[in-house]
Symmetry: C2
Subunit: 341 residues, 2 copies
């Protein structure tokens, strides 16, 4: 796959465009170009940014990826026009928004005519159902990332720990549960988009498939937070449905309130309380332990980051690290020790 990332107006904003940044960081070798007329001629992580579609097409992409969230999650007319031009150029389109491209009769017809595939990453599989208990029979060690808020790096932690485990020769598989993880790994289910009754069923199916893909060690991408006023339902359904043996608790240093939830204040409790809460919410049929803390220290300088890691270790009695800044080694060590490997 050769991606053209559609990111008009946002290709340079590191806090916006989770899908674009995730794909650039973890699948950058598959990205041919970025389209953003506001930064034509520049680069993002070494990938050239173009202002005109025709120029970007010269680099031979085969798939246009909607890389940023649009206003209100809908596609305004300018986006629809751009998508049509991509389809007419023979590109497939991948989209991670809640609104589905293939539900637009005009785009669908155009895609059929040009032999282009519209892949709506968040569209649930047709045959989803409720969980069955098969999650408890998966012969692999299942590790779920959980955390104090959304958008603090749970996906990144799962990806980094998977990379480190594979470097060590372990049969390790990243299990994608959201649109960005799916764009990176090429499979998965966006559990936040399934019918509510089927959240655990979707999570169960994902760990079963992770095992079928050869994983002895499955890193399930976490979603939301048990203490998030908006998304906690998805978080708990994913937790119980993926039936993890081990948890890695993720937190962004310096964040002390849930962000963007409305109606607060929604304070984030101390890490030791979060450890206890998550272990408490495991089901008796599959007890789960928090075995490490992954900190996102992006707002801190190096010294402060190192101190934050030490403080997290002191507070929880668990190994901690910022896997992006200081390496995933200590976290993988902790998981392997706890899994008896």
């Amino acid at each position: 796959m050769r991606y053209l990332i559609l990111a008009e107006g946002f290709s340079g904003d590191p806090h916006y465009g989770k899908t674009m940044w995730g794909v650039l960081r973890y699948r950058g070798e598959d990205v041919a170009a970025i389209l953003d007329s506001t930064r034509a001629g520049e680069e993002t992580l070494g990938v050239p940014v173009f202002g005109a579609l025709e120029e970007a097409l010269a680099l031979g992409p085969d798939t246009a990826l909607v890389g940023v969230a649009t206003q209100g999650g809908r596609f305004p007319p300018a986006w629809i026009e751009l998508l049509k031009r991509c389809i007419e150029a023979g590109l497939d389109v991948e989209n991670g928004l809640h609104v589905f491209l293939a539900d637009d009769p005009e785009l669908k017809e155009l895609a059929a005519r040009h032999g282009s595939e519209l892949r709506d990453l968040r569209r649930p599989p047709r045959d989803l159902s409720t969980a069955t208990g098969a999650n408890l029979d998966v012969p692999a060690t299942i590790v779920l990332t959980v955390g104090s808020d959304c958008a603090i790096g749970k996906m990144t932690v799962s990806l980094e720990l998977d990379l480190e485990a594979r470097r060590r020769g372990i049969r390790s598989v990243f299990v994608p549960t959201g649109q960005t993880g799916m764009a990176i790994a090429g499979w998965g289910i966006a559990v936040d988009a399934v019918v509510a009754d089927f959240i655990a069923g979707a999570a169960e199916r994902l760990v079963v498939e992770g095992r079928e893909r050869g994983g002895d060690l499955l890193w399930v991408e976490g979603q939301g937070s048990l203490i998030h006023p908006i998304y906690s339902g998805v978080t708990l359904g994913l937790y119980h449905g993926s039936a993890p043996h081990l948890l890695v608790l993720c937190h962004e240093s310096g964040r002390d309130e849930i962000e963007g939830a409305g109606g607060g204040p929604h304070p984030i409790p101390p890490l030791r309380d979060l450890v206890e809460l998550h272990e408490r919410m495991a089901l008796p049929a599959r007890p789960a332990r928090v075995v490490a803390v992954a900190l996102n220290t992006r707002r801190l300088d190096d010294d402060a980051a190192r101190e934050a890691v030490r403080e997290a270790e002191r507070e929880t009695g668990l190994p901690a690290s910022d896997p992006v800044r200081f390496g995933a080694g200590p976290l993988v060590d902790a998981v392997l020790a706890a899994s008896g490997r």
Copy 2:
């Protein structure tokens, strides 16, 4: 509305057909007839059972209600035939299954031709979105039923407490969150059928609407259980989204494991642990207290039921009752005392 309840093969089974029984018990005055060829000539809760549609039509129903869950939640050919005959007779159809009648082109066309409305109770409103925090601004006392398992009577408890509160002259509103509650009350959203990201948003919308319908006291129908391996996500999303001030803990006496979840064992912890767990899972922005225990004592004789109520009170230190067997008075007393009325 005059209901004809479609319940082929199951109209006499008290443990099957939650929608039929709920509507018979709480809206029985609106039920004209039941259709079940295996019990033609009998009665259920005073409503006549017919074997032939034509006989039932003579009683003048205007709406056919799918009263039982079909095999696998789909409509086999015999059901489709029956639904077509109902539509041809000019009846509207209400359906609470996950499969939607209006998605069947043939039924849809037939209904349009006969001026019949197909109401799929579980179809989410088109404009649902994530929660906003408006739940925290609803100027009413919000009471959610929570419990140890599915199908133990949370809806019944909410309905009984609402009835008792209204008897006392309180502006009290039952807030339906599932298909049976919706069939009974004539409004609501089936929160288990919405997109997972929107569970809390749907719950929030329901308490806002409950207030708009004049409620000073809102009884939100609970769903599932925080400790249910399949449905816990719906439960937590409904909990955080409905932002209750007070909780009524529901339990079926004698049930010590979650039923029908697969992959167990899934033991139910002691009531005092469930009280603590539910209070623990409230968000800081809206602390919630369990103020009463509602027991379903249907498996016990009168003496054992009374002893179970006393034991629940001893164990939790909270007022307890089986509101169906012994009346909802003590539970409503507890809620009013806690709400400062």
